[in-house]
Amino acid sequence: MPPSFLLYALVGVTLLVLGLYAAISHAHLGRKILAVNVMGSGVFLLFLALAVRSGAGSPDPVPQAMVLTGIVVAVCATALALILACRIQAMTGRAYLAGEEDPEISS
């Protein structure tokens, strides 16, 4: 019987890799931001899963604190990224970085 933390840790790692793939392969800025958030959620899940190994009822407080800090940083980074993406769309009419080919056709 595998230990119980392993399931959560595996889901966390999978989310991390899926998010990384989406962040690389999608050109749309909104999708990129969403993908980075999925990656972050995967890392948080992995951290919390690893923290549980310290014993029943009292997980390691250091990963918990780091995840708490990470959530706030992720929220403010996401907000700033979204506002920058909105600004790019307002100025260029496209929600893509300069130099990206027209993804409507190519994807």
Binding site: P3, F5, L6, A9, L10, V13, T14, L16, V17, L20, Y21, I24, S25, L50, A51, R53, S54, G55, S58, P59, D60, P61, V62, P63, Q64, A65, M66, L68, T69, I71, V72, V73, V75, C76, A77, A79, L80, L82, I83, L84, C86, R87, E101, D102, I105, S106, S107
Partner: protein, 244 residues
């Protein structure tokens, strides 16, 4: 722009397959690493427990956040402030009424919910000293109160956006930096709180950080610097005194 050439398209798909294969390898290595981890690992729990009595709080997570690893939290408050500066400098927004006045039901609901949110956030803040809770949860809840005000089009006095909002935004970093440097004036290291004062200092930092986080979340959600100059001031006395 224009139609994408066929070789270009092929190259894009080639890149995608390459990157997908690489990431599958990364995933496999991470999974292998996970299976090699020991099932039981005390981590830093014994150290945190041993020093808990000297931290000034009773909850290990709060102790780690605001004492043992408080530089994390200090930097986090600064990052939040930086994000607000970025958003703040990108443009103005027009908060408050003007588009559509709040319906009577919505306005009544907001007036009912705001004090509850403020009370719950204060409770979470105080609870952080001995249980799950603390500045972030409290700040998030208080920020929700601000977002609720913003979304419901209830008239907010623009005076709130002049000094009070700026004081709340800068209060967190300023108070935290002051508290961080205070021990070094007494011959200690940065952020090395004296044991007898640790509880009070942590509470002070938490109150300032809560207000700062709430204000920051409000500005980040609003998406710009709230307009302070008042073309049309809503009737005085109609502003919600509960906001922060």
């Amino acid at each position: 722009m224009g139609p994408v050439q066929a070789p270009d398209r092929g190259r894009r798909w080639g890149l995608r397959y390459c990157c997908g294969t690489l990431l599958c390898l990364v995933w496999g290595m991470l999974v292998l690493a996970l299976f090699e981890l020991p099932d039981q690992w005390p981590g830093l729990l014994p150290q945190a427990r041993a020093q808990l009595a000297r931290s000034g709080v009773e909850h290990p997570v709060t102790a780690v956040l605001l004492n043992f690893r408080s530089y994390d939290t200090l930097l986090e408050v600064l990052v939040l402030f930086l994000a607000v500066l970025g958003v703040w400098s990108l443009g103005f927004i027009e908060p408050g009424p003007g588009r559509s006045p709040a319906g009577p039901l919505l306005a009544a609901l907001v007036r009912l919910l705001l004090p509850v949110l403020v009370l719950a956030s204060t409770y979470l803040l105080v609870r952080g000293t001995y249980g799950p809770g603390g500045a972030f949860q409290a700040g998030a809840l208080l920020g929700t109160a601000g977002v609720l005000l913003l979304l419901s089009d209830v008239p907010i006095s623009r005076a709130w956006f002049a000094l009070p909002l700026k004081v709340a935004l800068t209060g967190g970093p300023v108070v935290f930096l002051a508290v961080a440097t205070f021990p070094s004036l007494r011959g200690g290291a940065l952020l090395q709180y004296p044991v007898e004062l640790a509880g009070a200092l942590i509470l002070l930092v938490e109150v300032a950080a809560t207000l700062s986080i709430a204000a920051a979340l409000f500005v980040l959600f609003a998406g710009g610097r709230p307009q302070e100059a008042t073309p049309a001031l809503p009737p005085a006395g109609d502003d919600n005194g509960e906001e922060v």
